[in-house]
Symmetry: C2
Subunit: 294 residues, 2 copies
């Protein structure tokens, strides 16, 4: 088995980097507190799963998950220490960083065909983060529809033009903070950069991500939390109109964690949500994550 | 209007480059002979069209097409001169280069949302090319289906994981050189890195690329050539089984130009093609392109 030390860790990607040329890679965006990554086990597991789905990890190329974890841990600690040392240049100090690890298939000559034995290239980066207290989001509906591609679905790969176009569209929607992305059939998939959960008559629902969408680390964590705590949650396809009959809803990703949705507008109809139940769940999950050892 | 000189031309993409992080950009791959780009007008027009579709060019950001042309021309000439000077290290000399221009939306902070006024980043690259005489290709059918996404369709953007996965799949297909890519309905779209034309009972056909696929520069050139020369060609959706009843077919892109298909295998059925008509058309078009002033 190849080791992480056999792979290039770089901050200066080459012209032949396949992430640059074809979006040929995957990534995870993690929240770090005082240099410790939240949900590190899940992030590394997800990175390895996604790299396998893209066949970046294959019969010739692999690396140890523990080495990957160490790489991220070391980088997060160094980034936090560097941020602390540079506090004099900042207006507000923060103990939080967003740490991202991008895994490119590596470098190759021209052409879509990859070399199956080229070593992956790891590109870590970090950025200060300032959490917003009592944050809520309001939702509109994107005109753009997500395509269905089952071989890429669920994977947090680097082909993110749909999300980029959705964010551009968001600028044209007045009075909403984020957009619901649906597929061509009008089924809810996700938001522009987070997953979504909603509750109708005491039953939670979250969209299936088997044909489109990202199977987010926080989505997975919440589903496990709900199962452990006997909270019923259906993972199923539902038409976007279902959101109008929900009583509470939240968006989630690994950085913002759970953010209650204040209201949703779809066409001429809109619904105001009770943010209480989402806030309560957000607090419980946030407390549980904070107790985890990274 | 922004000028090309206001945009960064770089060979060292930064960590914040949006092509690297999200595949947020487009590109064109061009054939250069003795430092002169073939079909340069079409390549620059395509790059500008694609950049507009992705809203890299928008109300705040634009650049002159002539400046873009000059940038490519200068780069192609310099690359050819550099290649000539380094001939001593090569076993075979070549007058051909493949020149690629990648246009990234530019750099940005973390997140899918782009800044609409950030200057695009141009990344040119070049590589020696050795044309293969009397080249033909045999085709199989990819299991992988192309997704339908009308806002990205036709565009040669950097989200190319479907093509990468198709090239990986190709390695498992014995005895064929390339794969036919279809959509979920089984309609022919393109090959892994080229468009396809086929002739049934004297009528040429090429797939529509309105919902999936790339509207290649050579595809456009051939369609115009056929129109100028009263050769009937239908641009339409056709089920992949239609290829079994064709008499001749060719693949095409800006680098390989027209390559006759020798035979096609779909499931248990296969058809051998008459390569004569495709070879004849390939020669005529190659001669016409060679006469164009770049």
């Amino acid at each position: 088995m190849m080791n992480v030390s056999d792979c290039a860790v770089t901050m200066v990607p080459s012209l032949k980097n396949r992430a640059l040329n074809y979006g040929d890679g995957c990534f995870s965006t993690m929240l770090s507190r005082k240099g410790h990554i939240q949900l590190l086990d899940r992030h590394t597991k997800r990175l390895v799963n996604d790299a396998k789905k893209l066949k970046i990890i294959n019969s010739k190329v692999s690396f140890s998950i523990d080495d990957l974890k160490n790489l991220i841990k070391t980088f997060a600690l160094e980034s936090y220490n560097a941020a602390k040392q540079s506090t004099e240049t900042k207006s507000v100090e923060t103990e939080w960083q967003i740490v991202k690890l991008l895994i490119a298939r590596g470098d190759s000559e021209r052409g879509y065909a990859p070399s199956m034995d080229s070593a992956p290239v790891f590109i870590p980066s970090a950025k200060d983060y300032y959490p917003v207290a009592d944050h809520t989001v309001s939702l509109g509906l994107a005109h753009m529809k997500l395509a269905e591609q089952s071989i890429l679905s669920g994977v947090k790969h680097l082909n993110r033009l749909e999300q980029v176009m959705a964010k551009i569209e968001l600028a044209d929607h007045e009075g909403v903070d984020d957009l619901i992305l649906t597929n061509a059939k009008g089924l809810v998939i996700e938001l522009t950069s987070s997953n979504v959960f909603y509750c109708i008559d005491g039953i939670w629902h979250t969209p299936c991500v088997e044909k489109s969408g990202v199977n987010g680390v926080m989505r997975q964590y919440i589903l496990d939390y709900m199962q452990r705590n006997q909270i019923i949650c259906n993972v199923s396809d539902m038409h976007v109109s279902a959101l109008l009959s929900a009583q509470t809803a939240f968006s989630c990703n690994a950085v913002t964690q759970l953010v209650p949705v204040s209201h949703v507008s779809i066409g001429n109809e809109s619904t105001c949500y009770d943010i209480g139940p989402s806030q309560c769940l957000a607090q419980k999950i946030s407390d549980e994550i904070a107790k985890e050892k990274s």
